[in-house]
């Protein structure tokens, strides 16, 4: 009974150089359901949906839409079939208004003096306003994209599909960039869309979301379809096991902490952001060797600015930063590195990696200027290769072409593994992790958590900044809760309950 399904992908195979992204995958989606694609990073979810959206063509297999076999050769053809996709990386024109972005390609036109056609932005604005009311997608069509936040940009992408009368909406990891509150409202929007008769395909690796909204769920692992399940009555632990193919440990095992000497000492730190607004307002704390100090807080309360200030990416307006006895407050980034700071930044793409360089060069970024990588300023390619091979192996970085893989083409999880490997190899007394597991799947998260604990057990001081409360509760020895640029309470992790941390985070509870 083909008519039952609005989308059928039959025995689809897609190969890329060095990797089979999809191996004989068959999925069938019913009209009006929320169909989730669950899998680790690199399991082939995005590739599968890119084929449905016409960005790639399958090497083998067929795609049927509404009971008809289709060859979807381009995104515009997919659009004609009423298929829309919200990509992980938004495709928006930053200096255009929201309305201009939405109508791009399907512009409403009017004629001046019955002769000169022009883009009718007024009608567009009205239509967008009515669409946004209908589905609860709050936007102001006249605002410019560069002035609005990430969740608004995402709503713009959704409106773009709706404006083109899409019936089948594909979401590629839509919550990866959102805060918890924004996630809730997005999931509500997705439900509204389904109730409005749309068919939704949701690509994700977050089990909670699937549990909350999806009707059915297909599980992919390393390019293969493992199973398709009804979500109702399904256990998250079971889903997790299917996804990674082994028993997942939700808890982090760690030995009791043994504190050594003081490594990091922050005294009354104040930091201003680009708009000259004080984002860190007099923060003091210290971290010992063998201690994981975690800063908990809702995003945007100054926690990443503290990390950036310590790493030397933001200037300090007052206060002192002392690392292992050295005052690094006014030092350059390289001097700080040498004084003993490793840094895993929040933004992998702009700060952590040089995306168009290959893997071995990225792995050597912290030490390329030293022997044996450079001898009197002349680079030694052999050392780069040896070092790259060593780290790829040691940190299990999976990549299509080994040392010479261009980092841009790697999955987010493997990019992160590369950064963490590079930084840990620094063997610095202080390691800063900012959102180390953001956007990663369970397998990778587990691996990173283990590495953080290992660092601690080696006697390093670890500063962990995370928005995931569970992560902080699982890892931290000491927790400082930040609210509005100030550390509300600093205490051993054992003295906190999760809900108590939550209260400090929201500014409900204050330190006496």
């Amino acid at each position: 009974m083909t008519e039952d399904y609005i989308i059928e992908m039959r025995n689809v195979t897609k190969r890329f150089p060095g990797i089979v992204a999809n191996d004989d995958v068959t999925i069938k989606v019913r009209k009006g359901e929320i169909y989730a694609l669950l899998g680790e990073n690199g399991a082939g979810k995005s590739t599968l949906m890119s084929m449905l959206f016409g960005m790639y063509e399958p090497d083998e297999g067929e795609i049927w839409v509404r009971g008809k076999k289709e060859e979807i050769k381009s995104p515009s053809y997919a659009t004609r079939l009423n298929i829309g996709m919200v990509h992980q990386h938004f495709k928006l024109v930053s200096n255009y208004t929201i309305a201009e972005n939405i109508i791009l390609g399907v512009e409403p036109k009017k004629k001046a003096f019955g002769l000169f056609p022009y883009v009718d932005i007024k009608t567009a604005n009205e239509k967008i306003r009515s669409l946004s009311e209908k589905y609860g997608l709050e936007v102001d069509p006249e605002k410019v994209i560069s002035d609005v936040n990430v969740s608004t940009r995402q709503r713009v992408e959704i409106l773009k599909m709706l404006y083109r009368e899409a019936e089948i909406l594909i979401f590629d990891e839509p919550t990866a960039v959102l805060t918890p509150q924004e996630i809730d409202s997005l999931l509500q929007i997705i439900k509204n869309l389904r109730d409005g008769g749309k068919t939704i395909i949701l690509i994700t690796h977050k089990l909670e979301e699937i549990k909350q909204v999806a009707d059915r769920c297909a599980i992919l692992r390393r390019g293969k379809l493992i199973d398709v399940r009804d979500v109702e009555g399904m256990d998250t632990r079971e889903m997790a096991n299917l996804m990674v193919g082994r028993q997942v440990q939700m808890k982090v095992e760690k030995k009791p902490a043994v504190f050594g000497k003081e490594i990091l000492n922050i005294k009354d730190l104040r930091v201003k952001n680009d708009d000259d607004f004080e984002v860190v307002k007099g923060v003091s704390f210290n971290i010992h060797a063998g201690e994981i100090f975690a800063i908990a807080g809702v995003s945007g309360n100054g926690q990443t600015d503290i990390a950036d200030a310590i790493a030397g990416l933001l200037p300090v307006s007052s206060g002192k930063i002392i690392v292992d006895g050295t005052d690094v407050t006014d030092m350059s980034v390289r001097k700080r590195t040498e004084a003993g700071i490793s840094y895993i930044p929040e933004d992998r793409h702009s700060v952590g990696l040089v995306l168009d360089f290959d893997l071995k060069d990225n792995l050597a970024l912290r030490r390329y200027y030293k022997e044996p990588f450079a001898k009197k300023g002349v680079l030694d390619p052999k050392s780069f290769e040896d070092y790259g091979t060593k780290l790829i192996d040691k940190y299990d970085v999976r990549c299509a072409r080994g040392n010479t893989t261009i980092v841009r083409s790697m999955s987010g999880g493997n990019q992160q593994k590369a950064i963490i490997g590079r930084e840990i190899e620094q063997d610095a007394p202080l390691t800063i992790f900012v959102q180390p597991t953001r956007g990663l799947d369970i397998g990778a998260i587990e691996n990173i958590h283990r590495q953080i604990v290992e660092e601690r057990d080696k006697g390093k001081a670890v500063l962990l900044i995370s928005l995931e409360l569970d992560e902080i509760m699982a890892l931290a020895d000491t927790i400082g809760v930040i609210y509005n640029g100030q550390l509300g309470k600093i205490a051993p992790a054992a003295e906190f309950t999760t809900s108590e941390v939550g209260e400090y985070m929201m500014g409900v509870k204050h330190h006496d």
């Binding site: 659009t79 990386h89 024109v93 201009e100 791009l104 390609g105 056609p117 022009y118 883009v119």
Partner: protein, 320 residues
């Protein structure tokens, strides 16, 4: 004296501006275009060649060669710009290098062809096509207004053509779907692609527009400043136009303002040299005035400037 400053300033600023418009089209679509200099020279060459041929058969009195020269200069510029299109879009070459190569090639190619054609076809060894200076128009009535009347006095006909083209260019760039997509290509070509637009086609068209408009500018210079086509056409005005639209922040009206400043700085300097009775050697010194001005403007204005985000990036669908 004020009259002369305005008359000469406008006749220099407007060709500069039309070339800047071309540059804006190209760069707002995301293709760096340093080739303006070569494009204007090549356009001037084709225009001048056509005019020269027609003048020989129709006599110097006819205005047909003049108008045909303008048309063929645009065609010549557009055709020559296909080289930039092919290199940058089809072969994904580096856009800066392509632009520079096109400039160097234009100088060599047009001077060589000018000499060869003169010798082989017209049988007179020469390295130029003499065109003479374009006729001028004075609008009765309007030109009698004090001071601003000068804007309507001794105007070259091509100045009207440029004004009309500028209005059409503004309308297309800011009001039509084509313009919307073109400007989007310069900021985020992926968005255009996802919306079903053809990035390569839009960019190719934009570069051709820059070729045509630069060609027009070239023939205007040939008909005013130099009164001929020769290697002298490559005076660096193409680069000045680039400076013009950069100061204009890649928008039409501010670029017009920048070009007018360049134009009046140049003509004002000339008048100053004459008024002070300086020897003619000093007029060469004045020639550098627009460039000195460029340096100063660069220091003060470029801070707030925002180039199109995707400018100079080769569009590659698979990049994230």
């Amino acid at each position: 004296m004020i009259d002369n400053i305005i008359i000469d300033g406008m006749s220099f600023a407007l060709p500069l501006f039309v070339m800047a418009i071309g540059g804006i089209y190209s760069e707002r679509s995301g293709i760096t275009n340093l080739a303006l200099e070569g494009l204007q020279g090549f356009g001037a060459f084709t225009g001048a060649l056509v005019a020269y041929c027609l003048m020989r058969s129709m006599g110097a009195g006819s205005s047909v060669p003049y108008w045909m020269a303008l048309i063929f200069a645009m065609i010549g510029g557009a055709v020559y710009s296909l080289l930039h299109v092919t290199l940058c879009i089809k072969f994904k070459a580096n856009q800066v290098i392509s632009g520079v190569v096109i400039n160097i090639l234009a100088v060599a190619l047009t001077t060589f062809m000018t000499k060869t054609i003169n010798k082989k076809v017209f049988g007179a060894p020469s390295d130029k096509f003499d065109l003479g200076v374009s006729a001028r128009i004075t609008i009765p009535g309007l030109s009698k207004i004090p001071v601003i009347g000068a804007f309507f006095k001794s105007v070259y006909p091509f100045e009207f053509v440029i004004i009309i083209i500028a209005i059409i260019a503004w309308y297309f760039l800011y009001k039509t779907t084509f313009g919307l997509r073109l400007r989007a290509c310069g900021d985020n070509p992926h968005a255009v692609d996802a919306a079903g637009g053809d990035v390569a086609k839009i960019r190719a068209l934009a570069v051709c527009v820059s070729g045509a408009l630069s060609g027009l500018a070239g023939i205007c210079f040939a008909y005013s400043i130099s009164a001929k086509f020769s290697g002298d056409i490559y005076m660096g005005y193409g680069y000045l136009a680039i400076a013009g639209y950069i100061f204009g922040n890649w928008n039409l009206l501010p670029s017009l303002a920048a070009c007018l400043i360049f134009g009046f700085a140049r003509s004002g300097g000339y008048q100053l040299v004459q008024a002070l009775g300086m020897p003619s050697a000093y007029s060469d010194l004045v020639m550098i005035l627009p460039y000195v001005l460029t340096l100063f403007l660069l220091i003060f204005l470029s801070k707030n400037n925002q180039a199109p985000k995707a400018l100079g990036e080769t569009y590659d669908k698979s990049k994230r």
